[in-house]
């Protein structure tokens, strides 16, 4: 039987070639959400799908996720940054995401919280997601309510995700060490030059136009809103800090 890593050929190179040839080897070549679009006012179970390791048979040994906290997040409307805060478009933005406990791949995990106790992310560690596997990391996405008085027809939430194959300092971030699926917002986790650069996972919440209609005259086609973690939040919340308060990743 041929073993998956018998041929010493970097996984991400193989994927790139496959994509260039017009084939899509699997739906989760990048780390993405299993359910990327959901209706408003609906709470769902979802998964972050780790599509692969860091190449050359390296395993993902830890995983860090940040959700925009809505406090100093970047808000865009139809692609353009706005000075509006997210509560102009979402009635209940905040503490919408909760980790679902699962030790099937990673033995240790915990949520990350802001100063008010709201969940702003989570981490998993102490495990192995093989390079050639897709691993599901479950979380629950709460019911987001789009502000009725707004013209938002959709709200796209951008996540910051790191799939870590080796624990290094930030200076050690490189191909084969970590996959950064993070928005390029000027944080220390942007990962310029790495193959996942500015290719974050997103969750789009669609307005329920039947039960929460827009004012057709004022809104026209409506607005596509995005909420993205700020650089400050990424720098603060991406690290993995264990329950004893020790930073595990990146190495300080």
């Amino acid at each position: 039987m041929i073993k998956p890593n018998q041929f010493k050929f970097p996984t991400h190179t193989a994927l790139t070639i496959a994509l260039l040839l017009g084939s899509s080897p699997n739906a989760f070549s990048h780390t993405r959400l299993e359910v990327p679009t959901v209706a408003e006012n609906l709470r769902i179970s979802n998964n972050v799908v780790i599509g692969h390791g860091c190449g050359d048979g390296t395993n993902v040994i830890a995983h860090s996720v940040v959700f925009p906290d809505g406090v100093d997040s970047i808000v865009k409307v139809n692609g353009a940054p706005t000075t509006d805060t997210i509560d102009v478009y979402v009635t209940n933005y905040g503490n919408l995401y909760q980790k679902i406990l699962n030790h099937s791949v990673f033995k240790d995990e915990d949520e990350k919280h802001d100063a008010n106790g709201n969940t702003v992310g989570y981490y998993t560690r102490d495990g192995k997601s093989p390079d050639y596997y897709a691993t599901y990391v479950p979380f629950r996405a709460g019911a987001m309510a789009i502000e009725p008085a707004s013209c938002a027809k959709s709200v796209k939430v951008t996540l910051g995700i790191a799939d870590i194959c080796k624990i290094t300092t930030k200076a050690g971030f490189a191909e084969g060490i970590v996959n950064l699926w993070t928005p390029a917002v000027g944080s220390e986790y942007d990962g310029p030059g790495l193959h996942g650069f500015n290719s974050p996972a997103t969750l789009t919440v669609m307005r329920d136009l039947v039960n929460n209609p827009m004012d057709a005259a004022a809104c026209g086609d409506g607005l596509d809103v995005e909420v993205i973690p700020s650089a400050a939040q990424m720098n603060r919340d991406m690290p993995i800090v264990n329950k004893k308060g020790t930073q595990i990743w990146p190495k300080p």
Binding site: N41, T91, N92, Y93, G94, N95, A143, A145
Partner: protein, 154 residues
């Protein structure tokens, strides 16, 4: 020491740590405290009521337990909306006895689905801890989707 014994010890320790983190705060309960101690301290939460499959929310109800015995007593104000004719928009409740395990009287604001605002205050200076219990229910009094956001902690 054999590996199997180590594993058992690790499980007991880990289980103990998990239990110690659970505390007395349950689902749809929100614990907090007035860490500044100031009399004017206000903690502020948003509660979202939505249909989680159990039916459309009709109202939110809440009560608070003052978990610290001292002069200061904890109270809550729950509010939503401005159409305050048939159904009240705002209700408040005070836990007058803080050296017991009981909650304050239950209050109810009937303003349907959406976001309710909950303010937690105390009657005097003190580093009170509290536990707020809040639920969204249908018109048939069935528990439905309830989620908290903490907006301000004083």
């Amino acid at each position: 020491m054999k590996f199997s014994i180590l594993k058992q010890v690790a499980m007991v320790v880990f289980g103990g740590l998990m239990m110690s983190q659970a505390g007395s705060v349950l689902a749809d309960n929100q614990g907090g405290s007035f860490t500044t101690g100031l009399a004017a301290g206000v903690d502020f939460y948003q509660i979202t009521c939505f249909d989680d499959g159990n039916g459309a929310p009709s109202y939110a109800e809440a009560q608070v337990k003052d978990m610290t015995a001292n002069t200061s007593k904890v109270n809550i104000l729950l509010y939503k909306g401005t159409a305050c004719t048939t159904n009240k928009c705002a209700q408040s409740s005070l836990d007058t006895t803080d050296s017991d395990t009981g909650y304050s009287p239950l209050i109810k604001v009937t303003q349907g689905a959406g976001t309710y605002y909950l303010f937690v205050k105390h009657t005097a200076s003190g580093t009170d801890s509290y536990d707020v219990s809040a639920h969204c229910k249908t018109s048939g009094n069935v528990h439905t989707g309830t989620s908290f956001i903490s907006r301000q902690q004083q």
